[in-house]
Point group: C2
Chain length 352, copies 2
């Protein structure tokens, strides 16, 4: 028995006594942060600065930190929706976590937790989607596992993928590198994934042509790295732009200013948010990234992004400042300013 | 759209039309084999011989196949049971999948799918178990993910870990290396994990001192590799010895003879199986392995195993023959012979 883990276990149990997991603990916002930084990171000894989307590994024979590893569980409902399925998500989500760490995605593992009664035709559809997404992203699914739980003890199908990628010599992306003056580049319009999922659930009497934006971003990241000095990238998924901007601000202990008028939002998503009272800045995406880049490289990097289909509508949407350290401020379209906090609670559960 | 995946999707959907997932598809036996070899392997292009517990990866800068990757999902119920918890399992199970591939386990990822309402004290307990198991096995948990699903849509907590390990130059373990004459070595007594779980469920009016045998096996494997020529190793988990022996027989297309009298089974497990009508050869373990080793190295390897606590009760329990290719035959304690088939259906669901 290790004394330190034992002490940590007891102290945490006292601190969290009587509390229970709620949906906010998986939402990408404040409560999830508290669970990760307050429980998981201390127990697992993940204490070396802000947590990134992928870990950099040291392996004998390779230079230090030249291998990246990441994992994500996917619990989206419904399993299939306009533009993609849980299968596409499970590949592209993990590919993107590697990509935004500067890694070339290479290999994926795939663990399936299936509910008794799942139609095998549906499973085949979803696995075929995974195979196609893997081919498109140039990665190989090399190992897997299958578990089945009794009817009523899971929800159709949960998929967890892990990914391994290779980081080229000299590539060093991370929130620790963000500097005052950095420009913030968003790769495209927000909210399509979140809106498409919500409409697919059929609980709203809404119709729309919205499709999930689920797509791999490693090619876009490579083009950006080739074009100029990139400091940090995150894919903008659950918790939306608001959460990623806050991770940038808190992790760097600098201020972030976002220019609302510069943030691309499709007309249809705008309307959708207006009707439902949702904030597009917290809406999930599955094929968009936010980058902090050196000011003098911003034009070149933006041009490189716009030259690719995944970055066609990329825009400079803000910058990093020394003021209001750790906070995100939005310059609204009306010219006023508002603080954009991390998402509290759960805007839309089971989005990925 | 890739034509081959599309064709595969359609052909498989026709072939499996109307069928549904049942518990046997996750049991480690025949139906799981059919799902993996009939659906998953063709879609994912895993067609290079018998599937191993871990994949060997090629990474630029390292020799080919010098990195191993594996994943497992854990859905055991109850979450905590005598001797271990889902946390110990999630670390040791994945460590062992790397170990039996000849890899030194290095890094793990950890994906949590939690049910709304899970007590955070329970979560802390289980994550602390993971941290301790990781320290004991000498691996680092480097990256993770948390998802929460609504009450009633999962069963407390599912954990998926993936693992990355490093394979020393010249190590080549795999079912393809099994040869006629190989001796089969089992590292210790069978059935403790399966029996402990079933008793912990409290549905039987049984009391016992049985504990799960959950433990890491990489140290044992290293001692075996140092002692002599090992051809293939598998950890003996769900599906039990019967399933692993069948994987050896089918994957090598050779015959396996097991000597029932030589197989160590604790007295209490024997009694438990008698009462419930269970076959100990299909009962799950979480800290045992079966190895096929060169005949002339068997004594030295057995001695090396017995010199370690994980292999104290190791025994030679059978051999590989040219007869009855692809089948496992048990020489019973009465001197008769019986064919030991793969497990059909599900002896004990949610065992790991």
């Amino acid at each position: 028995m290790n004394q330190t883990v034992e002490q940590c276990r007891k102290a945490l149990q006292q601190q969290w006594a009587g509390q229970r997991i709620h949906l906010g603990h998986g939402a990408g916002g404040k409560q999830m942060d508290e669970l990760i930084s307050g429980v998981i990171a201390p127990l697992f000894g993940m204490t070396g600065g802000p947590l990134e989307d992928a870990a950099r590994l040291d392996v004998a024979g390779l230079g230090p930190g030249r291998l990246a590893m990441t994992t994500d569980g996917y619990v989206v409902t419904p399993l299939q929706f306009p533009g993609a399925s849980i299968g596409h998500l499970a590949v592209n989500g993990t590919v993107n976590d590697l990509a935004v760490s500067g890694a070339q995605p290479l290999y994926l593992s795939c663990s399936l937790i299936m509910e008794e009664g799942l139609a095998i035709e549906t499973l085949i559809d979803i696995l075929a989607d995974m195979a196609q997404a893997a081919q498109q992203a140039g990665v190989q699914i090399v190992t897997g596992d299958t578990k089945v739980v009794e009817r009523g003890h899971a929800d159709g199908l949960f998929i967890t993928t892990a990914g391994v990628g290779w980081i080229a010599q000299g590539v060093d992306l991370g929130i620790h590198r963000i500097q005052p003056g950095d420009r913030l580049l968003l790769s495209g319009p927000l909210g399509e994934h979140g809106a498409a999922i919500l409409i697919a659930r059929g609980e709203l009497a809404l119709e729309s042509d919205l499709h999930s934006d689920c797509q791999p971003l490693h090619g876009l990241v490579k083009a950006m790295l080739d074009a100029g000095e990139v400091h940090a990238i995150r894919d903008v998924t659950r918790g939306g732009l608001g959460s990623v901007a806050n991770e940038f601000a808190q992790g760097s202990n600098l201020g972030i200013v976002l220019d609302e008028a510069a943030i691309p939002v499709p007309e249809e998503v705008h309307g959708f948010c207006d009707v439902l009272g949702l904030d597009v800045l917290y809406l999930a995406n599955e094929g968009k990234l936010l980058a902090a880049v050196a000011a003098d490289a911003a034009d070149a990097i933006l041009a490189a992004m716009r030259a690719r289909p995944e970055g066609e509508q990329a825009a400079v949407i803000g910058e990093v400042v020394e003021d209001h350290a750790g906070r995100v401020v939005v310059r609204t379209t009306f010219g006023s300013h508002r603080i954009l906090d991390k998402l509290v609670g759960e805007q839309l559960p089971r989005i990925c």
